[in-house]
């Protein structure tokens, strides 16, 4: 049964269908929220809240709309609401400064463990402005088209194109030294 068919059942009042959708999309949506929010605990909260918000607003779901687009739209809005806390952003900035190896500027080359490398990359992504972050995550990690990304974030395709370009430019500056020496040999 497709996601859209399950949504029809949910609209009709079958709340058990929500559990099926949760099982299907939990890991993918959690990955998006982890990268977007850079906080596993917050991502878990928003993940559950996303599905129950979806259920509460089931009657606003349009059949012609792709289910994953609607799901990620709700998750994106909830995540932004969570991140609007100024104190949270300050903590993340401090964390990012702490994570950046000081030797990068001196040597331009570092050897890192894969976990540290991954953490660095995630910090760099989270350092992007919110509007660029969502675009690059949805494009690179979830392989969504510019059209789908535009529907999720509520912008047009040209805006998505510009934000994707600027995000990559920013990441090139942030991860420039890391790119020069990739432990995976990419």
């Amino acid at each position: 049964m497709s996601d859209e068919q399950l949504m029809e059942r949910i609209v009709a009042g079958n709340i058990e269908a929500l559990g099926i959708l949760f099982e299907r999309h939990k890991q993918s949506l959690f990955a998006f929220l982890c990268r977007f929010m850079h906080d596993q605990t917050l991502a878990e909260d928003v993940l559950a809240e996303t599905f129950f918000r979806l259920y509460d607003r089931r009657r606003t779901y349009r059949q012609e709309c792709k289910f994953t687009t609607w799901l990620y739209t709700i998750a994106h809005h909830l995540a932004i609401d969570q991140l609007k806390s100024a104190r949270r952003q300050e903590q993340l900035m401090e964390q990012m400064l702490h994570d950046t190896p000081t030797t990068m500027d001196d040597q331009g080359q570092i050897a890192l463990e894969r976990a540290e490398f991954s953490h660095l990359v995630r910090s760099a992504v989270h350092g992007l402005p919110v509007e660029q972050r969502a675009v690059i995550i949805l494009r690179v990690y979830h392989d969504l088209s510019y059209r789908e990304i535009a529907d999720i974030i509520g912008a047009n395709e040209e805006t998505v194109r510009v934000r994707a370009h600027r995000a990559r430019q920013t990441l090139k500056q942030t991860l420039g030294a890391v790119i020069e020496e990739d432990p995976c040999g990419r």
Binding site: E44, L47, R114, S118, A164, H165, L171
Partner: protein, 244 residues
């Protein structure tokens, strides 16, 4: 870097994402073949995507899934408690019934704003108990007809007026009393109550001064009072009629 290189490099991200059309793809390919600087820039962006994909996201904790299942079960239990009343088309039926009741109430209020009362004069009268000189001060409105006119019957003349009077003790007791105060001494008006919101139930036909008629219209026939009798109360009523 030339302006062409700047324009081409702005398309690199869309090129990597497969969001350029065939013509743009061909133009970029041709430029990359000839421009080393743009090739270097393009490779840097391509490596960004490769580096980003190194990021490993932790798996969802089992406790999260358990909590979600419990919360889902709680919502399902709450919903089943109210489902006979609020499911699907039943909810629409409830809304429709509620709307019908509200509409019916509005129609009733508009159709029946209040109880019908005879359009009678509410006259507050104060009767002076001075011996021999009854007086009436009127605070009420005008006299209006209170029933449909049937001109076939002499009693139903257009100018007939029904004055409702709650108490007519004196007239009841003296039906043949004279109606002209100048010829008949007035007895003490002791039967009237002080609060004179009176409603005359019997309808004597009164003589009223005809209203000024407009040119070309026949003058209205004066009313003829039946059972005319010289009586102080009749005089009061006559004064009332003349005043209006």
């Amino acid at each position: 870097m030339t302006s062409t290189c700047s324009t081409i490099q702005q398309q690199f991200s869309a090129y990597l994402d497969g969001e350029v059309n065939d013509r743009q793809h061909a133009v970029i390919d041709a430029h990359l073949a000839d421009c080393a600087a743009c090739r270097q820039e393009f490779e840097a962006l391509r490596r960004i995507d490769a580096v980003l994909l190194v990021d490993d996201v932790p798996a969802l904790r089992p406790q999260v899934e358990q909590l979600f299942a419990e919360r889902l079960a709680a919502r399902a239990a709450t919903r089943s408690q109210w489902s006979p009343f609020f499911t699907g088309n039943t909810r629409l039926a409830w809304y429709g019934a509620l709307a019908a009741v509200i509409l019916f109430g509005i129609v009733c209020l508009l159709r029946f704003p209040g109880t019908h009362e005879p359009r009678s004069v509410s006259i507050n009268q104060t009767v002076s108990a001075r011996r021999g000189h009854p007086s009436i001060s009127l605070t009420g409105g005008g006299i209006v007809a209170s029933k449909p006119v049937n001109t076939s019957h002499p009693a139903d003349h257009p100018m007939r007026v029904r004055i409702h009077h709650k108490k007519m003790n004196y007239l009841d007791r003296h039906p043949g009393a004279a109606r002209h105060p100048a010829t008949t001494p007035a007895p003490m008006m002791t039967d009237f109550t002080d609060d004179m919101t009176t409603t005359i139930t019997e309808a004597p036909v009164m003589t009223l001064a005809a209203p000024p008629s407009s040119p070309g219209t026949p003058p209205a026939e004066p009313l003829m009072m039946a059972n005319a009798s010289p009586d102080p109360e009749d005089a009061a009523v006559a004064m009332l009629a003349e005043t209006n």
